[in-house]
Symmetry: C2
Subunit: 291 residues, 2 copies
């Protein structure tokens, strides 16, 4: 097995969980019809991006894993014989919540989960209020359709995260994401921000000789006087950093054929792993010097 078909579900989220589940399920059926083996949903796909504000009642949106949503999608994965990457707001226990991605295999079994390691906190992205930073480390999951590495959104700005996930054996690194423009910043910085986001993920593909898939939500989400425009642009890079496919701004199911053999070829020609100077990397475990 070296060839698989991937589907990234770029979605617009509504305020009702049920509607988002319905939308996701319907798109998963469509993706399966097109032959997808592995399907990935965007970060926190069950809800609007509630982190725009700090509101204690939003913790009601979290749920246990396994729980009602994983039950629905485990059943679906088994029925359709697909592998699912399901990003959820996880309730671990009272007072501890995570931004999590669950891997469900084609038998409907939960293979494991990844808890977002790097938590942002920016105006309208108040994630540090909601999510305890992950404590499961960086992960890759061996499935019947390849080794799938899981990172989430903000993790994408950290080369260490991509490196560590690739070194665990990941052949594809997935980044379920919720990234967009502040309406005030879009005109001046919008293009540059989107380009930076594409560039950094492209570089992870190149540096690590892996496929990289970013799955973003789309659409404008208002919360009171606050507003964010999620920019879509879900994308898949090959291990040389070439774009295989990229979505636009609207809802879209991005279907893409992956040939894992490409990893071997690329790493033979660009053998970066051969030349790492691991004995000189110790200071990576520190913070920058005081300047």
């Amino acid at each position: 097995m070296s060839k698989i078909r991937l589907a990234l579900i770029q979605m617009k989220m509504l305020s009702e969980k049920k509607k988002n589940i319905k939308n996701a399920v319907s798109k998963i059926y469509k993706a399966k019809k097109k032959g997808a083996d592995i399907i990935c949903l965007p970060e926190l796909f069950l809800t609007n991006y509630f982190c725009q504000t700090e509101k204690h009642s939003n913790f009601n949106l979290a749920e246990k894993i396994p729980g009602p949503t994983t039950d629905i999608f485990s059943h679906l994965a088994k029925k359709l014989k697909i592998i699912l990457l399901l990003p959820l707001f996880e309730k671990r226990t009272s007072g501890i919540y995570h931004n999590t991605c669950v891997i469900i295999d084609e038998k409907g079994k939960i293979k494991g989960k990844y808890r977002k390691m790097h938590i942002p906190d920016d105006p309208q992205y108040y994630e540090k209020f909601y999510f305890t930073p992950g404590d499961l480390g960086f992960r890759s999951f061996k499935t019947s359709k390849g080794n799938l590495g899981t990172l989430i959104c903000w993790d994408q700005w950290f080369p260490e995260a991509a490196r560590l996930t690739a070194m665990k054996g990941a052949e594809i690194i997935f980044y379920p994401t919720a990234i967009g423009w502040h309406p005030k910043e879009k005109k001046k910085f919008g293009k540059s921000q989107l380009n930076s986001w594409l560039s950094i993920q492209r570089a992870h593909a190149i540096a690590n000789g892996v496929f990289v898939a970013a799955i973003n939500r789309t659409g404008i989400e208002k919360q009171g006087s606050k507003k964010l425009e999620f920019w879509g642009n879900s994308v898949i890079f090959d291990p040389s950093g070439n774009i295989i496919k990229k979505a636009k701004f609207t809802e879209q199911i991005l279907i893409c054929d992956i040939d894992y053999k490409k990893i071997e070829t690329v790493r033979r020609h660009w053998p970066f792993f051969r030349d790492r100077r691991i004995e000189y990397y110790k200071d990576i475990l520190k913070n920058p010097i005081d300047a």
Copy 2:
């Protein structure tokens, strides 16, 4: 002092050291006339890219640091009151040679040197035959015109190198480089290779909130039946990863104004250093798992 002017000397190398020195000196004068404070030359600028073949007599091209070439350029730096980054083939002792970058300050004093840490070895890039991997670690040099980090060519594919150099305080990371196309590969892979090279360096600027400057040689160099086409395209990225200026394929002095204040602004808005999970990065010091 927050604003400085930078010059990257994109050069075509000839087979005679003297001619390359003459060309470099003449271009340094021109750059100074245009107000450059800091001037960087390409990797191994004294010679053709001799690593196209493995030839013991090529070790004759190496020299001591300090030595005849640093003497010439120390004198020049003092005379013109400029900071120079001078990439040389260093003879450390019999049997140990390095691919080195020397930093000379505006008083003509050698501030220090960096020895290339990651050594490539590819057909026609037989660097492992010539260069012992650096043992000085990753470095940034405090100068009157800012903190200058030095990496060399192949280092550019390693996110660890950029991260460690930035964490030492570098405000600009310099990559003197000798990269080009194999004539056989150019048609099929040329565009993708050049784009990957630009992307990975762009990502270092973004991930670390620093300026990144890559200085490449240009021109076709033949050695017997072997040939490489060095692709120029020297480039400077700002700390958001935007291209400030980029050269084409011919000889060019790339002049660029840098405002270090931009680093503070970018890092306030994209505070990646704040969120690193250093306690979970230990496996960076290992090689990938056996697959």
